[in-house]
Amino acid sequence: MEVLVGILLACAFSATMLRKAVFDSAALSTAGTVFCGVFVQAVPFLALGVVVSGLIAVFVPPERLARWLPRRPAVAVLAAGLGGAALPGCECGSVPVARRLFGDGGATGAAALTFMLAAPAINPVVLVATAVAFPGAPRMVLARLAASLLTAVIMGWAWARWGRPEWITRRLPAPGVRNQSRWAIFAEAARHDFLQAASYLVVGAAAAAMLHVVVPQWVFARLAAHLILGVALMAALAVVLALCSEADAFVAASMTMVPLLPRLVFLVVGPAVDVKLFAMQAGLFGRKFAARFAPGTLLVATASACAIGLLVLGSGSSGVGG
């Protein structure tokens, strides 16, 4: 507590100097603004997410969720993927929700991970945004829906098959003594989840801000026109830019020099895995988990976006101007 007061006082006294340093340097002020942009944009979604996760802590203990889900894990994963459509919001909110649903990773684990990947990509708000951003290509919406759902379901099945409980090194605090009021359980869960998720959001936002300044803008303009390079580049770009899933369609739409297929990869990879999600997953599930889950998701998302893209958008999508 004393340290916190000390930091605050030191910053209050040096505020003018700090401000001048940031305003005078173009790189610092850009990084600062992008950092604030990512963080401030995520706060309301995170708040919504921790309200939902608090409600889950109160009303849906993992045993009850396990009873609701279909008995067979493969079917349960599928149901969770479709259930993702019900949480309108972007990806920051879905990580704490999924962590609550995950519980100890027993019967509901795979379904919770599928939900985490599906919710930010296939909810109605994101699909409508995609339709608005690509007015001339309605198939883009269908392709995004199919490829994101496929990614989520494959990763859920992969967890059910190969996942190890010992990778989950971060545990939630147990839900407290039994005589606590519902409000107390809700507030404790929401408070805990916000502090954990937001701290890791800071790491992600800082990484995104730094990469914004460091990676020159012309890189993707030059390289993205080549199809295979373009796919790899757009997947990498989705990871480093850490855009909100409600905005990424507009950004993808504006990259007119890139063929449709790499842009679909951008839209499918972005909500499933990026630097801030990686940081948040490491914080809420554990580093061992995130180090395996995130690269796996990146590969699966890229592959399923390519497969669905070729199927739905057709081979014409691989040429410029398609």
Binding site: L4, L8, T33, V40, A174, L243, A247, V251, S254
Partner: protein
């Protein structure tokens, strides 16, 4: 990290979000439509923090892990990471970084909604009046996607800042954001016509209100139209630093 410090940081995060919402500085980072959500989440965070602080004081000291935790051994989340939350608090309260400069926005040839798929539709007619006010992204969208040709032979008024080009021309620019500063893009239109010389004499980032007529780009060139300016007025920077496509 002690539980009191965590609560204090949670309270500070809520307060700093409330501060930028009240001061209006949040428009430098996100779109104005997010205001009610920011206020609601600031309120939620402040209530959660105060509830925890008051509850702990009433119980006579913070609860410890053993009281609340049925499996103390499994309680392995480390609290140190929460210190990172002081970073946004300090940046938002004490530094409050400025709005993005045009050089930091992604160079987009035209505007956010220009896709390579040629898509045209009938736009609603321009607002009535001598030279109606249009936003720069809307001008670009009408220029490329409007079937009714609503911009042809019409005087319009556009606001933006001066942007000198590398090879000597002068542009009117506007930074466009969709959700937050991370997705910022630069919309630009060439300035031509009798009043363009006046704009060319001004330094970069001077805010202007320009009256003129839009002429399409010559075929085969870069897809940036030209605004044939008849009048150029210097103005103060607008309250919202960015423009929004919707």
């Amino acid at each position: 990290m002690s539980r009191e410090t965590e609560n204090a940081i949670l309270l500070l995060v809520g307060l700093s979000v409330a501060m930028i919402a009240v001061s209006g500085a949040f428009t430098r980072y996100v779109k104005p439509g997010l205001l009610p959500w920011l206020v609601a989440s600031a309120a939620l965070l402040i209530v959660l923090a105060l509830w925890a602080i008051v509850g702990d004081i009433r119980r006579g000291g913070p609860r410890t892990g053993d009281e609340t935790c049925e499996h103390p051994a499994g309680h392995s989340h480390r609290g140190g990471i929460v210190w990172l939350l002081t970073v946004p608090v300090l940046v938002l309260i004490f530094v409050t970084p400025p709005a993005l400069r045009p050089s930091a926005a992604a160079p987009s040839a035209t505007s956010v909604s220009t896709t390579d798929v040629v898509f045209k539709e009938a736009f609603p007619p321009l607002p009535p009046g001598e030279a109606p006010e249009l936003s720069l992204p809307e001008v670009l969208m009408r220029e490329f996607h409007d079937t009714t040709g609503s911009l042809t032979n019409r005087q319009i008024t556009v606001t933006g800042f001066v942007l000198h080009e590398a090879h000597g021309g002068v542009d009117l620019g506007r930074v466009v954001i969709i959700c937050c500063a991370a997705d910022a893009q630069l919309a630009r239109i060439h300035l031509g016509g009798p009043a363009a010389a006046q704009a060319a004499g001004l330094p970069d980032n001077t805010w202007l209100r320009v009256v003129g007529e839009v002429t399409p780009p010559p075929p085969g060139s870069a897809r940036i139209p030209t605004l044939q300016a008849t009048a150029v007025t210097r103005i103060d920077a607008p309250p919202n630093p960015y423009d929004y496509p919707h």
